[in-house]
Amino acid sequence: MTTTTQPMDQRELMTLQHYMKEYGQQAEIFVSQLDMLENGRMEALAAIDALQGMVASDDGTVLLQIGGGASVRAKILEPEKILIAIGAEVIVERSNKEAVDFLKERIMEMEASQKKVAETLDRLRAQMNEINKRLESGYQQSMAEQDQD
């Protein structure tokens, strides 16, 4: 969007306000997508820690959180057999190492997606800044016209 020194009428101001609103809504959607991706990434990292911790534990005992800050000691019967959701609502059995590798790959995918969403968000914000500048100059023009009257 180019900045112009032409006087701005009320109709154009309103249109710019609509653009701002719409871009704001789109930005909100992208921010929530980024949050979702970050939550997924953190969950996968936690799962990797847990899987590696299970193998490292001597007798397979782990602390199992049951909500409300409460935990119980639980013994993993088969720390080498991991059931993992691979996508399309399909769950497969993998070895501990394979499950960790799979999760690492997923983390990389999520990071790539985060990068793309963040780039789009940056572009959107740049457009919003342009509109904002235009709006401000329009408001200033209106104020100046009112002062002259």
Partner: protein, 348 residues
Amino acid sequence: MFGGLKEKLQAARKRLGSSIQAVATAPVTPDTATAPGVSALVPEQKSATPATPTFAEKVRVLLVERELIVSDKDVADALSELEMTLLESDVALPATDAIIAHVRKGLLGKHRKIGESVDSIVVNALRTALLEVLGDGFDLLDYIRTHPRPVKILFTGVNGTGKTTTVAKIGAFLKKEGFTVVIGAGDTYRAGAIEQIGVHAERIGIKIIQHQEGGDPSAVLFDTVQYAVSHKIDVVLADTAGRFHNKANLMSQLDKIKRVMKPDLVVYVDEAVAGNDAVTRAFEFDKTVGADAVVLTKADMDSRGGAAISIAHTIGKPLMFLGTGQAYDDIVPFEPAKVVEELLEGGS
């Protein structure tokens, strides 16, 4: 678009290729039918029928044009890997099964010339399988040209998937193709939706019919159709409020809209990034209110491509457009052949 799936497919293609290559390079023991055997010792007789192969020809066929036959055992591991690859890319299980079955059919028991490129065998099998699953797509321009005007298109889907923007993008696309378009602001429920579609319509220079927020969407869309009829407009694009298929009151509102405006096409809009969830939701929507075609938005953000690959096969309705960005022209008609070529290009 679908970069992750493309990478994974190329890895699976190499794996399949090396499995078949192993068969092709394994020493071939000639059987009695093709072996020179005793006849090799007998001086060649000139045959009256040219179809009878000469000894030299037999040797040439054996050594130069010998064929390889791919067995299930040879490709079992590679196919299982391909299956995992597809599932990990969120391709729905029925679509994955269909792709594997087609690839297996394309490879097993087929006599392949040794001289033929193994990669081309694999690529052909994958291409055929993907094309079978993707279906024919949906040519909206052709549909409009061959149906009485105005063609009425109703857009449905869940909240926040980019339905309103899609309506605007398709409006811009149709206008560019020379059709006249009117948009009905049928989302009278979401705050700011009427304003939003109004701004879009103004920017792309398309007439919009709108009522007050909270009004009856059926009435808005009825008026839109009436406007289109009286002004000889080619296409009516009807926006509606987002809704989940399990909200009975909203779904019955959609039923009413359908009864009142009698759409020629009901288009389900969802986001490609939702993966298998989008497929499940499309299935439920189709069951409840019906759908004739699907549009997937945010395909540029989707590295896996699962929804795009499986939706047509799983719900039996074609994919019509892919949304690929923020601008009005960031929408591409879904052409299966083009998508498959893009997925399989390179990597040889």
